[in-house]
């Protein structure tokens, strides 16, 4: 073993050249019979019969590919199930496509993609597995330094017996190789002096790594910061558009002033503009005002049928509160087009329970949950709250002071500290609530059905009932 080492290179093995594949195979056979194990043959193409000659075991590669392919089958199916049939996941949830009532998950339709996933994964397993098992890529190999060996990829055949084989003996092995028909024999030496990378490679590498780190660092830094600028979009996508959104400040001009004087980006409709479907010409129906009512002051913006119908939304909103209470303007009966019957009042009950009961209570005595809670907080000084009125209160109940139209207006535009519900409740439903409120007022906290039976006659009956319902009023007050 001594002569294998000298100062600057190490003997790796003896390389014997052969001129044709058949003599290579026979030499390999001889070598194996002579007891050599650490050897390898090199040829420009796979030589027939070489595997048994140098004792190569069958590779595990097919097994590996099978395992990967088998797994890919489930991955493929699972992926499709997850993305198209399951919606349970909290992150990146799937999305169950419903298409023409077909089943969400059906095997036949999912086979093509599963098949492709299997083939793709198996192909990668084969490709990467083969190179991995072959320990390639490996760019540093002492063989590549032998000029004769360059013909191993052209037309010559080589057998190398490595020094690490127990039976290796420099001179004996050489004479054996000669005996087996080697055309030429050469030492394969590994250069020990040359195994350091040139120093600049390290420097460039380090610099490269450093530069590569910069972008991710910048990205993470920016992700942790707040910024008033819009997000950076590499490709202009539809989720970001060059426009101002509602509820933001007006854009600023070059001279530092706001583009819009009111400092809002959002623009209001032009005066007198009426949105589609919102003409609302019928003032009885939409505003609870008598048709022939004319506001006394010219400045008033309350519009009735008698006037030009260009009432804008804002006009209506400001109106009644500003006007001194002129009760005569309010409608005292339900407008035309509204028929009060059991269904209508039940609809009103349902809407009332949804929209009003939170404050006014189910029986309208002003003691809904919100009210209770707010009063409790108010008692501790933790909140400011005006108690929701009991709708059985004399002022609310009195038809002369609070006609139907005015209740409708209360719901639509709010009153005093009560907020408006016009934008949330459609007109007909508001009238239904009015009907239900009237019904409630007659009964105090009696169940609805009893009242509706009496009311079956319609609004006129109801009004007379309301007039005579004094015992109910007594009960609540």
């Amino acid at each position: 073993m001594a002569d294998k080492h000298d100062n600057d290179s190490k003997l790796v093995g003896l390389l014997a050249q052969f001129d044709d594949p058949d003599s290579l195979v026979s030499a390999c056979n001889e070598a194996r019979l002579a007891g050599y194990k650490s050897m390898d043959a090199y040829s420009p193409f796979p030589v027939h019969g070489i595997d048994p000659a140098i004792g190569i075991q069958r590779s595990l590669l097919p097994f590996l590919v099978f395992v990967v392919g088998f797994g890919a089958c489930f991955v493929g199916l699972g992926m499709q199930y997850y993305t198209n049939a399951a919606e349970w996941s909290p992150i990146f949830p799937g999305y169950a496509f419903k298409i023409s009532g077909k089943p969400i998950f059906s095997l036949p339709a999912n086979i093509p993609v599963t098949f492709e996933v299997i083939v793709l994964s198996s192909a990668f397993a084969t490709f990467l597995g083969m190179w991995g098992l072959n320990k390639l890529p490996m760019f540093s190999n002492p063989l590549h330094r032998i000029s004769r060996f360059k013909r191993a990829t052209n037309d010559k055949f080589f057998l190398m017996i490595e020094t690490k084989d127990e039976k290796f003996n420099r001179s004996e092995t050489e004479s054996q190789l000669n005996q087996w028909g080697a055309v030429a024999i050469e030492e394969c030496r590994q250069d020990l002096t040359d195994n350091q990378l040139p120093s600049w490679v390290r420097l460039v590498g380090l610099l490269g790594v450093f530069l590569l780190m910069l972008p991710p660092v910048m990205i993470f830094r920016n992700m942790g910061m707040t910024n008033r600028q819009p997000r950076l979009h590499v490709v202009p996508d539809m989720d970001w558009q060059h426009k101002e959104k509602t509820q933001v400040l007006s854009p600023v001009m070059e001279n530092g002033e706001y583009l819009f004087a009111d400092e809002r980006a959002m623009r209001q409709p032009v005066d007198g503009a009426i949105p589609r479907g919102r003409l609302e010409i019928d003032s009885e129906m939409y505003r609870g005002l008598k048709k022939d009512y004319r506001p006394k002051s010219a400045a008033s913006s309350i519009k009735t049928n008698a006037q030009f119908v260009s009432a804008s939304l804002e006009d209506k909103k400001e109106a009644p509160a500003a006007e001194a209470e002129d009760v005569s303007m309010w409608l005292t009966k339900f407008p035309e087009g509204i028929t009060v019957d059991q269904d209508f009042v039940e609809r009103g009950q349902q809407r009332f329970n949804i929209y009003c009961s939170a404050c006014h209570g189910y029986d309208a005595n002003g003691n809904g949950l919100v009210n209770q809670k707010a009063m409790a907080l108010g008692a501790n000084g933790q909140a400011q709250w005006t108690a929701a009125k009991s709708l059985h209160d004399a002022t609310v109940k009195d038809d002369s002071k609070n006609p139907l139209g005015r209740i409708f207006d209360t719901i639509t535009n709010g009153r005093n500290t009560m907020g408006p519900y016009g934008s949330q409740i459609p007109v007909e439903d508001r009238w239904a609530i009015v009907a239900y409120v009237k019904a409630l007022q007659q009964t105090g906290i009696k169940p609805l059905t009893a009242v509706v039976d009496e009311d079956a006659g319609g609004e006129d009956d109801k009004k007379s009932d309301a007039d005579g319902g004094s015992d109910a009023e007594d009960k609540t007050s």
């Binding site: 195979v25 590779s59 990146f92 793709l120 360059k150 990829t153 052209n154």
Partner: protein, 465 residues
Amino acid sequence: MASVNPAIDIDNTNEEPGTRAPLVLGGLDYAGVTETVCAPWEAENPPKIWWLILAAAVSLLLVLGGCVNHLLMKGVGVWGNNNPAYWGWPIVNFVFWVGIGHAGTLISAILFLFRQNWRTSINRAAEAMTIFAVVCAGLFPGVHIGRVWVFYWLFPIPTEHLAMWPNFRSPLLWDVFAVSTYATVSILFWYMGMVPDIATFRDRCKTKIGKLVYGVLSLGWTGSARNWHRYEIAYTILAALATPLVLSVHTIVSFDFAVSQLPGWHTTIFPPYFVAGAIFSGFAAVVTLLVPARAIYGLQNLITLRHLENMNKIIMATGMMVGTAYGIEFFIAWYSGVPNEQFAFINRAFGNFWWAYWIMVTCNVVIPQLFWFKWCRTTPWFMVIVCIFVNIGMWFERFVITITSLCRDFLPSSWAYFHPTGVDIMMLIGSFGLFTTLFLLFCRFLPVIAMAEVKGIMPHGDGHH
């Protein structure tokens, strides 16, 4: 090598009974094969004709680039696609190119599994052609999606703000998977097959930069028997994977049509018929490329007349399969008793696109019959002409299928005639520029013939022991 005389075609198309006709001619030995294949790569300058073709190809490529740019700026409206033919030339071109892209894998995988040794001298070029054809094919649906910059929506990638996934029950999505898998596996197969030959280039290379590039690409390949052992197993596995894959790709492409309800599309014959058509057009493209390539590079001793003749036989066989399918379609339309189907086929042959139908039948069914004559299938210049006709015919086949059915769907009020625009035409022509440019670069910088494989099938000098 000096001994190679490229001008002479040796006739090896006849086989003596009991012997195998040689596949490598001109008395080439192992070194001779290496020399012949490396000669064009080692030549200081490529031949003049190479430059000429490259110049033409690059100009067409520029046309293509201009068209794609125009398309991206303006939108898909620059094409002739319009109601009712929303699938116009882009899909026709896609299917055309994907079809061509079938021959490579077929030659390298299926013929490998069938132990057809003659495949070795043509498989490399055919695989390269496959990949370049798939590149051209991918271009068309790629730009057809409109908002190209979000192409990744085609793949099941989780999105932050959409919570949307591809619909895995749609044939168009199967297509995405099939074509991208096919492209990937073809590239793996091609590259893996090329590594030993790149190692040959590495060992012969004289320039520094070449040594570096080919050195890295060859991964340190030594040709060790242990490596060859695993390499051959891997090659067989990849071939076994690629075989069903190549069949699945055009099957799935045909599903794009067949799964819909349109008369003329909704037929079960589509998958086998498309696959046969793909092989047909693919082989025709291989012949069209290899006949000039072997003449320019003097590869006649490796790509022999026998190779060409074999391919021509396959072309004739698949051509007749395609012809049979045309006939069967008519039969089934009649036999189904569905008036819409019957109308669709009568309309194909005699409707306002009759000319396209008869171009298709002439090119695909009639012209390949010439290959019954030995002279026709063994005369290089003549077979190229036939093969060009075959590819014209196969383009028209896709045109006929796509356009005639779309222009005459269930609703007569929406019937219309299809007019391509200039952009349509220029993009089709431009795609040939892309294809040819890639192929020319391949011829210049990579091993055109699988040297290691050819050497493996050469008879050993001194016979078997």
